[in-house]
Point group: none
Chain length 401, copies 2
């Protein structure tokens, strides 16, 4: 039995509130040998105060050495085995534009392409058509009608858009139609299992109708389809933890990931301060809050160490407002590391701070990666974080007599 | 393959002796933020001397955040996966009164109740009948005879007693007969699988005969049956580790748990000093000793921090007598945490001290939770403790060539 199943069995309800305050890509690296990481370089008086009372640790999101994408990183953070519950490319793309994927949905990443008069691909990305030209075309494709299936088309960016088929018996195991070269026509959608035959048939009809709609376009007169995927079928936060969870985020991707595990998306904040406004207003209506801050990751991806440090400081500055609400358990962490030095997600373990009145003190004096090495939580897999939060919230019964 | 199976394969015999010196509920919490835990507050010169030579660590009995009952806590300590090998309620109750459960046994927790003239339950606990009245009644029920099955009836306390059926093909999956309300008769025992049909049939006959025996009782003229359970079928210490193990404990529950894994119960000590007397006398006859001290847990459950500290000091005082016997490996730990502040078992990891001449020193200077954070054993699952003890006792062969 995995730990999530155990937690599901042992969960018990009380009024205690849990907050996950998540700085995307929080973990970092020094720019110079022996120097501080972004988190260590930042002035974080509020997080340091929490670290003194609470308990620190380091978390592997998936396993040592494995760099998580945003999908697996968040699934791990939420307590779901990210290897068992894979989020397919199409599902992540749809989720990323804020589409609420349901259990009867198959999502597909699509590219506009340019077809020559023979129907062969002349440009696989339709000349990198700009978003303001491609978005109206994607919306035009909503005219496609296929009996027995509901179709959603969402613009993404440049040549990219996203299609969702909703209906009974639609498997997600269909081969890409992008031949990955020019001078040949798009491939037929080929089903890889019997459950996906109908999906492939619908995809073929979609393609045929779309070509008619796009026929007079100079650049985007064709399309390819990739990453067919159903939504991962995970039990909801309510089922597993008995929690009523709210997600507060600026970016659609994170709202989408939270919604996959049954969190309710609250408010439409545009800044971190507004996210905390939303948290304050929603405080009495939920018992779990996921608050997501994007810009630590963004500046890490940019390779901008000093700006990532500033983002950590902005993140720190809002901590007192959260503490004032009186959560029983406040967890501060990330969904993966994004060291500015690497300009990308990395496999380095993610620092965690857990603050609660039931913490056993560990002597840590501030929040940072080195300090967390001697933290009371030790070095642990991300799927154990929710069980720990549930325990400190006193929402878990004893196992066995 | 799990680690226990690996150990089973690699085990090898020698004369080295291993002692597990276990203070129940040893792990604790400070009463004031930043203060010492019970173990840290106690003066433990003998354990501190061991800590300097040995190696410390912290142990999750089941998984991070999961609070263990005494059954799972001890199974984990003994190296058995406590989630895989669940000890049912009835089996634990029988074990708790010192009954030696065998492989053909089904154990049942029973309550005396009061039935009205129509056979409906008037009082589910027979007016909380005192033990000195209920115990003779339980013993009287030993008159029940059912062909093909051996029956044991053991008094417990107040309205509670315990019944064990011993025979071939007795499953443990039978529904409780306690309707959880008054004004209705006890329920029939309903089997939940084909293997438990015979058990249910025997339970029904037991009920019928018992009613006749109890007919003239003013309070305890009926009974209900709950928590039907077979003993967990675990391989013995001898099979897994090749050890000849002795258990030394004051309380029946812990003798019972030790007996479930095939330990021999030695002596009938009433105090910790007497337990060590037993250890000294039995030294030449066994190669593994489990010595259990109860009162650290008791005072923790009472919420009495200073008294738990005193119990730790009493526990420490006997250490030199154990050391003098010259065990190759001495492990000092608990089966779970029982912080006085929480007045209950908790999920906090349990401090471990392993002393042996093959320890790699870790710089720890005394035995305590904070010190153990930097210990050489790290933070590890309880099922790894026996493999570590076996290794330091040089009782494990190399794996692979």
């Amino acid at each position: 039995m995995d730990i999530q199943s155990l937690v599901k069995e042992l969960k018990t309800a009380n009024d205690a509130k849990i907050v996950f305050y998540v700085a995307d890509g929080l973990g970092g690296l020094p720019v110079e040998p022996g120097g501080p990481t972004e988190l260590e370089a930042a002035k974080t008086p509020n997080l340091d105060a929490l670290a003194k009372q609470g308990v620190l640790g380091l978390m592997d999101m998936i396993a040592p050495g494995i760099t998580p994408g945003s999908g697996p990183g968040h699934l791990g953070l939420f307590g779901y085995d990210p290897v068992k519950h894979l989020i397919g490319r199409g599902a992540l793309e749809a989720t990323g534009v804020g589409f609420k994927l349901g259990r009867k949905d198959v999502a597909i990443r699509c590219n506009f392409c340019t077809l020559d008069p023979q129907g062969n691909i002349a440009d696989r990305r339709a000349g990198r058509i700009p978003t303001d030209e491609s978005a109206p075309l994607a919306i035009k494709l909503r005219q496609v009608k296929i009996p027995g299936v509901e179709i959603f088309v969402e613009p993404v960016r440049e040549h990219r858009f996203c299609v969702v088929f909703r209906g009974e018996g639609l498997g997600g195991n269909v081969a890409d139609t992008d031949p990955q070269k020019t001078g040949v026509p798009p491939l037929d959608p080929v089903p890889h299992d019997p459950e996906s035959r109908r999906t492939a048939e619908i995809a073929k009809q979609f393609f045929t109708q779309a070509l008619k709609i796009l026929a007079d376009q100079p650049k985007a007169n064709g399309l390819t389809m990739r990453g067919f995927a159903c939504a991962p079928h995970v039990p909801s936060y309510e089922e597993v933890y008995g929690l009523k969870p709210a997600a507060i985020a600026v970016y659609p991707m994170y709202k989408g990931l939270a919604q996959l595990v049954g969190m309710e998306i609250v408010g439409s904040p545009a800044t971190l301060a507004e996210e905390i406004d939303v948290l304050e207003k929603a405080w009495n209506d939920y018992d779990f809050f996921f608050v997501h801050f994007k810009y630590t990751d963004s500046r890490g991806e940019d390779g901008n160490f000093p700006e990532k440090v500033k983002m950590v400081e902005q993140f720190d500055a809002q901590v007192p407002r959260i503490v004032k609400l009186g959560p029983k358990v406040l967890v501060v962490t990330g969904d993966h590391s994004t060291p500015a030095r690497l300009k990308s997600h990395s496999w380095h373990p993610v620092p965690v701070l857990l603050s609660s009145d039931t913490c056993r003190p560990d002597g840590c004096q501030k929040f940072g990666e080195r300090e967390a090495l001697a933290g009371g939580l030790g070095h642990f897999p991300a799927v154990c974080l929710m069980p720990l939060a549930m325990a400190h919230a006193e929402k878990l019964e004893k196992f066995g007599a």
